[in-house]
């Protein structure tokens, strides 16, 4: 039994069902990130945990106590909102201690708690200011302070960094990670940002249309997406999904794909057992970094396929250069070293790491063969 249990939770607004039987178990001290496209129900799920909305079906437990119907303030949770939701009429200090005041904590104890949190977040000199007089990053800290001061069982974060500029976001991300490591609290964190999701989380729940599509560690999600949605949603640029046909040949099973000039190329599946799919269409899932030049190819891989394909566009992106080309009748992307010397229209030899390929059923959209190297 986990620390925070979400059991078969559904939520409807009138006839509109926005969450469908969500099951998630969060261990104590875990950092769970919810990601998904806009409108998929992330905030709704967070609000259900917080008790800000009523659950239509199912139950939520914290420390084995069912908290359906328990008032938000009695759940021992704290929440940090995207807009920070600082009370505009109160000073920073009053903002942070308002919750303690509401719970009847004495003034002296409030002061002690406030000082402690202020020190932790380095906002001691801001305590007498109004939220209006703070920068975005400072507001963010105050919002965290308000959550921290209550020493809650579970922290809920709803896109807490999305209103910050890029640089500040990276800094705050690191701080949140440090805080989590130091305090070891349980966190449920909603974000749009994949990098936030990958770097912060101990596990990720990818959501779409009110369903959890996949729940797993960042590595599982990235290397082994369970379906096409997760494959294309996580990772940037997205995983290539190359239409291919399975051919069981004498020297092993291969994926047959067409290249720029219409010629057919065979990519061996190696240890992956795809015999039963002989003659059928599949989608071959390959992350851009699995398609590269001979030199950068993964030395540990036991199954490198080599093809020659024409380069259509090159996009230098600092540390890498992305190259697009035609395969399986689609445009796909390869990731190369930044110093690679290539030009559009050049026909270039690529090395494909087939060990890391993930194979999907194009009709059902689900994974039929996992990445065998992981």
């Amino acid at each position: 039994m986990g620390f925070l249990n979400i059991n078969g939770v559904s939520k409807s607004y009138g006839s509109l069902k926005v969450l469908h039987g969500i099951d998630i178990e969060v261990e104590e001290g875990e950092f769970l990130v919810l990601v998904g496209p806009s409108g998929c129900g992330k905030s709704t799920l967070l609000n259900l945990i917080a008790g800000l909305e009523d659950i239509t079906d199912g139950e939520i437990l914290i420390r084995d106590r069912v908290i359906n119907g328990v008032h938000p303030s009695e759940r021992n949770i704290a929440m940090v909102f995207q807009s920070y939701a600082l009370y505009p009429n109160m000073t920073v200090g009053q903002n942070i201690t308002f919750g303690l005041e509401m719970h009847g904590v004495s003034k002296k104890e409030r002061k002690i708690a406030l000082d402690e949190v202020a020190k932790l977040l380095r906002i001691e000199n801001l305590l007498h200011r109004k939220p209006k007089q703070l920068s975005g990053g400072q507001r963010q800290r105050v919002a965290m302070g308000r959550a921290l001061v209550r020493n809650p069982d579970v922290f809920l974060f709803d896109e807490p960094l999305s209103n910050l500029d890029a640089k500040l976001r990276v800094d705050m991300r690191t701080e949140i990670k440090k805080l989590h490591q130091n305090l070891g609290t349980t966190i449920v964190y909603v974000t749009h940002d994949q990098i936030e999701a990958m770097t912060l989380s101990s596990r990720i729940a990818v959501m779409n249309d009110g369903y959890v599509q996949q729940l797993g560690t960042p590595k599982e999600i990235y290397d082994n997406p369970q379906n096409i949605f997760v494959a294309t949603f996580m990772g940037s640029p997205a995983m290539n999904l190359i239409p291919a046909i399975v051919r069981a040949l004498d020297d092993g099973t291969v994926a047959e794909i067409s290249l720029y000039d219409g010629s057919l190329e065979h990519l061996p599946f190696g240890r992956a057992d795809m015999n039963s799919w002989d003659g059928r269409e599949i989608l071959l899932g390959l992350r851009p970094e699995m398609i590269t030049d001979e030199e950068s190819a993964d030395r540990k891989s036991q199954n490198i396929a080599r093809i020659k394909n024409r380069i259509e566009v090159t996009e230098p992106a600092g540390s890498d250069t992305f190259i697009s080309m035609q395969a399986g009748g689609k445009s796909i992307v390869a990731r190369m070293k930044s110093d690679i010397d290539v030009k559009p229209d050049q026909v270039f030899p690529f090395a494909i790491n087939m060990d890391k390929a993930v194979i999907f059923d194009p009709v059902e959209g689900i994974r039929i063969q996992a990445n065998i190297s992981s």
């Binding site: 409807s12 800000l52 909305e53 009523d54 069912v66 359906n68 119907g69 328990v70 009695e74």
Partner: protein, 301 residues
């Protein structure tokens, strides 16, 4: 914060919190239901009875409405309302728009002019009426002033003229309300995106075209609001007529509002008075209900 959870698994605090808003809203709701909608129903009922000095509960069907539309004064009142409403709405709109467009030309002294245009709105119609009544009085007002200045043939006696008195009322009413319309249009003008105007200028639009093709069409909501507000004010107009002409000369400046009052309370024809009030309500509803409905639905999403 909806309440589709069975109450059994909610704690007391949550349950109370769920009911509190409704309990607190209930008195206001009750007041409005009783004093507005209950009263409307009551008046509607009276309009089908033979009430005279006091309400009576004897049902007479459509008789009051039939009689109402045979009364000459009601006929005059309706005619006046049409004249008054059309002129009041259109003149206020035109003046308001002109003033707003002019004020929007980066005018020095806007801070002084704007309150001058607007202050009449703060006055009671009775005060306005007192001033204008005298202003328009040929014996001592404008006409007299021009006579004293030596223009003996000048004549401006609308307020004493059965055929013209209603126009005199329009003047005073426009004086009072046009500044408000100006404020609405000005707010609309200030809300228009600068970049749009820049783009139109780069496209080579002349000032005239800029206003006609780009700016005025964007003021549509302001036009609509002005129309609705002025329209309902016109139908409700009562104070100004009482202060300015008392409905006279004769009953030349009667409006439905004054008609209703005099039939209900001075002529002891409560049934007919109620019928006229119902007609007024229906007229206003024809303007307001679609407007409010659209506004409420728009706010939802």
């Amino acid at each position: 914060m909806s309440m589709n959870l069975t109450t059994t698994d909610q704690d007391l605090k949550t349950r109370l919190q769920n009911w509190l808003p409704k309990i607190v809203l209930a008195p206001s709701f009750g007041l409005v239901v009783f004093f507005v909608y209950g009263f409307i129903a009551f008046t509607l009922y009276l309009s089908f009875t033979n009430s005279r000095m006091l309400p009576s509960y004897e049902w007479v069907g459509w008789q009051n409405y039939e009689r109402l539309f045979q009364i000459r004064e009601w006929d005059i009142a309706l005619n006046n309302l049409v004249i008054f409403a059309i002129l009041y709405i259109s003149i206020c709109t035109v003046i308001g728009l002109i003033l707003a467009v002019f004020l929007d030309q980066k005018i020095r002294g806007e801070g002084v002019l704007r309150p001058i245009f607007l202050y009449p709105m703060a006055l009671s119609f009775i005060v306005t009426g007192t001033a204008w009544k005298w202003f328009l009085d040929p014996a001592i007002g404008i006409e007299n002033t021009f006579h004293l200045w030596g223009w003996q043939s000048f004549s401006f006696d609308w307020i004493k003229d059965r055929d013209m008195a209603i126009y005199a009322i329009v003047i005073a009413a426009v004086w009072q309300s046009s500044g408000f319309v100006m404020a609405m249009f000005l707010a609309g003008l200030r809300g228009i995106d600068d970049e749009l105007l820049k783009a139109a200028q780069i496209d080579g639009a002349s000032n005239f075209n800029l206003y006609r093709r780009i700016i005025l069409p964007q003021l549509r909501p302001a036009f609509l609001s002005a129309f609705v507000i002025l329209g309902h004010l016109a139908i409700k107009s009562y104070d100004l007529v009482i202060a300015l002409t008392g409905g006279g000369p004769g009953n030349a400046t009667a409006l439905p509002a004054t008609f209703m009052y005099s039939y209900s309370f001075t002529r002891n024809q409560m049934g007919i008075g109620s019928a006229s009030a119902v007609i007024m309500l229906l007229t206003i509803s024809a303007i307001m209900v679609p407007y409010l409905y659209a506004e409420l639905n728009e706010k939802k999403r």
